[in-house]
């Protein structure tokens, strides 16, 4: 606990806050994007916005795995789970993510699907081992942070020669998403998010290291500071970004040196490369189809690939047309600017996945930050 408290110290926060206020130049705007949902959550949960001067604006990025998962993939998972022979193992966050036609995994379970909530990918392997008569499918999602754990589960299932275990793989990669945010020249002016710098991923970077960001920082001329998820980490990263902007630098800096190295975790990388390969293209909610941005199982491990075992045929599916998650995920809109925010969309009745995951920008703003939205705050909103 002492270890954790050090990174949440209010006294230190005030010191950094004062330094930021001193160094952020008046008359200049600093638009900084925190890529990760983990950072979005920390910003909201600790009220960091209140510790920043008005010229420093934080923009939420697409780094929330649940939020970028397209509706069609949730539909696929529900169809899988509805098969009588299948037991779908999933993280609890996914249970309430809206699928097409008002469906979600929670309702599918109530309707009889065998869906189990698990805490780690290994739990899914244990279920498969304990219940050989069931086809156990692990609903794998996440950035590079969770991919090694999925790889490990597959390796374990392979060692145990489990014929009834497979993975519905939705693992995606961080650098292509950052590129998609920065690569705006071809977009109409209204759709460009012009960020001045990035707070780079914490846990993702422990795996991939800081070097993958170097090409992006150089190509697009934007500074990146990799930061931990504790609130003081975020404050310090913001200060480092402001200094880079002030000095005209566009470097990749590492605030999170206690966990992140330039080359990352080579063992985890090797493990991932051994089991997964790049997909040609993958659909991201909000960002569209991005080339070489997601992983699937290599042919050697095809027998563990739920997409091949059950021949999942993608059915086109669209988000609720009024949901602005796409713009929120690209940093074009703030959650409160969505017309559904707080009216029909709340964590009790989410219309988009950004309202479901605790790392989603809408959920974070609803849960922690909405007391700041004074505009239109007439009648109190109905709570559950």
């Amino acid at each position: 606990m002492k270890y954790i408290d050090e990174y949440r110290d209010g006294g230190l926060a005030r010191l950094i806050s004062a330094t930021i206020a001193r160094e952020a130049q008046a008359g200049r705007q600093y638009k900084l994007m925190e890529f990760c949902g983990g950072h979005t959550h920390a910003l909201s949960r600790y009220g960091i916005e209140d510790l920043l001067p008005p010229q420093v604006e934080m923009v939420h990025g697409p780094g929330c795995p649940v939020c970028v998962l397209p509706v069609g993939r949730i539909d696929d998972a529900i169809r899988l789970a509805m098969r009588p022979e299948v037991t779908l193992c999933t993280y609890a966050d996914l249970m309430r993510v809206p699928a097409s036609g008002g469906a979600n995994l929670l309702k599918a379970r109530a309707a009889g699907a065998d869906i189990r909530m698990i805490y780690s990918s290994m739990d899914a392997v244990l279920v498969a081992e304990a219940e050989p008569a069931r086809q156990v499918v692990f609903f794998a999602i996440g950035f590079e942070t969770t991919t090694p754990a999925t790889a490990l589960a597959i390796r374990l299932a392979d060692q145990k020669q489990l014929a009834n275990f497979s993975v519905f793989c939705n693992h995606v990669l961080t650098p292509p998403a950052i590129r998609a945010i920065l690569d705006v020249d071809h977009l109409p002016a209204g759709e460009r998010v012009l960020v001045d710098g990035f707070v780079g991923p914490a846990h993702v970077s422990t795996v991939i290291g800081t070097s993958p960001y170097a090409a992006l920082a150089a190509a697009f001329g934007k500074p990146v500071v990799v930061a931990g998820f504790e609130p003081l980490d975020v404050m310090q990263a913001i200060l480092m970004l402001i200094r880079q902007v002030n000095e005209g630098r566009t470097e990749v800096e590492n605030q999170y040196i206690r966990a992140v190295t330039p080359e990352g975790n080579l063992i985890a990388q090797r493990e991932m490369a051994e089991i997964f390969e790049l997909r040609d293209s993958f659909e991201w909610r909000g960002l569209g189809a991005l080339p070489a941005s997601a992983l699937r199982l290599r042919n050697t491990y095809a027998k563990f690939d739920a997409e091949r075992r059950f021949t999942i045929v993608p059915v086109p599916a669209a988000d609720n047309p009024a949901c602005e998650c796409g713009d929120v995920l690209r940093g074009l809109k703030k959650p409160a600017a969505c017309k559904l925010f707080g009216t029909v969309c709340s964590p009790q009745t989410p219309m988009g996945s950004c309202m479901v995951s605790p790392e989603g920008a809408c959920a974070a703003h609803w849960t922690y930050g909405r007391f700041r939205d004074r505009v239109g705050a007439g009648a109190p909103r109905q709570a559950a």
């Binding site: 110290d9 209010g10 009220g47 209140d50 510790l51 309430r96 849960t367 007391f371 709570a383």
Partner: protein, 349 residues
């Protein structure tokens, strides 16, 4: 005690199990009630052997409350489903400022449940009730087939008397009132979760499960009319409690995280489990909303009682037409303490 009935053999409590005949209303039912519940609760009301308890009540305002307990596991560090079922209902009565008088208890038992466990639970209830000065005066027992319940479910109902001049209600908070918390947050929820094996996690944390009737009696004596309301932050924790009050009183709250006591072990466990202590259940704590000028007096009375030693002011009631509970974080920023979406963890009480 009632005259002994004709019976050949006593219950095999050490090795026996509940079977369907124990709930069929025949001789086996009577034996189970006699040898486990009446033996444990031992009071003249039960000894009359009626289906109801009859007693005289003083004139005045009476409160009544009922609660069902489905906690799992049944035995956890610092308590069990029995003590919890007694404390929980006593506390619901006490939050009206009442002196708890009598409890009724009914049991849904699963076929196959060990009699030894049932006796352990009954004895724990008896101890909890006698410590709190209440009697378990009537009850009921049903048995369901294996798989139709999970060991034992208990429902307790209680009545209590409210002293004259005391009127506590969730809609009485007014802007400027102070919020007092009687002690540290999260102990019960974390103690229970630590027992749940799939979380793979062990701690020395004990549940705070306790009857708050005595503490409340002292508070009422010290500054009764100035207390606006009392609440015990059980399911949903402090966060749910404050939000409920905010809705009922059409006000907001501003609380200060740095002043909210959380044991370091509990904070560490919550960190590991991804929980927020503000949302974790307590079973022996209360929140008091009090008129500002009576704050010091009430605090002193609370701190003089063993269940209120760590009592402290954690914030105040604000005027807010959106009924927000806003907290200044220990980090220095502001945030909402919202209702919990979904359930944090099921079967915690």
């Amino acid at each position: 005690m009632s005259p002994p009935r004709l019976r050949t053999r006593k219950l095999d409590i050490r090795g026996g199990r509940v079977d369907l005949s124990h709930g069929a209303g025949g001789r086996a039912s009577a034996q189970l009630i006699d040898e486990i519940f009446r033996a444990a609760f031992d009071n003249p009301f039960l000894d009359q052997g009626n289906d109801q308890a009859a007693f005289d009540v003083p004139a005045g305002r009476m409160v009544m409350s009922t609660d069902a307990y489905v906690i799992w596991p049944l035995f956890f560090p610092g308590g069990d489903i029995g003590s919890l079922a007694v404390h929980g209902t006593i506390n619901d009565l006490a939050m009206a400022g009442a002196k708890p008088l009598h409890l009724a208890a009914s049991y849904i038992l699963e076929e196959g449940f060990p009699l030894a466990d049932l006796q352990r639970i009954a004895l724990s209830m008896a101890r909890a009730a006698s410590e709190a000065g209440v009697a378990i005066v009537t009850g009921d027992t049903k048995v369901v087939e294996r798989g139709k319940a999970d060991g034992v479910f208990i429902t307790t109902t209680g009545i209590g008397m409210v002293p004259a001049g005391i009127d506590l209600s969730a809609d009485r908070a007014r802007p400027g009132d102070r919020v007092i918390l009687s002690g540290s947050l999260g102990d019960h929820g974390v103690a229970v979760m630590s027992k749940r094996s799939h979380l793979g996690f062990e701690t020395e944390i004990l549940s705070d499960s306790a009857a708050l009737g005595g503490l409340v009696a002292d508070m009422v004596v010290a500054c009764g009319p100035s207390i606006r309301l009392l609440r015990d932050p059980t399911r949903g924790g402090l966060a749910a409690t404050l939000n409920e009050i905010a809705q009922a009183s059409q006000c907001g709250f501003l609380i200060d995280e740095a002043r909210i006591p959380v044991r370091p072990e509990v904070a560490a466990a919550c960190e590991l489990l991804g929980l927020d202590p503000l949302y974790v259940a307590n079973e022996g704590k209360l929140v008091a909303v009090v008129a500002p000028d009576a704050t010091d007096g009430l605090l002193a009375a609370m701190r003089a009682h063993k269940l209120g030693r760590a009592a402290c002011v954690i914030g105040e009631v604000t005027a807010d037409d959106r009924y927000f509970v806003v907290m200044t974080t220990a980090f220095g920023g502001g945030r909402i303490v919202d209702w919990l979406a979904g359930e944090q963890l099921p079967r915690i009480c």
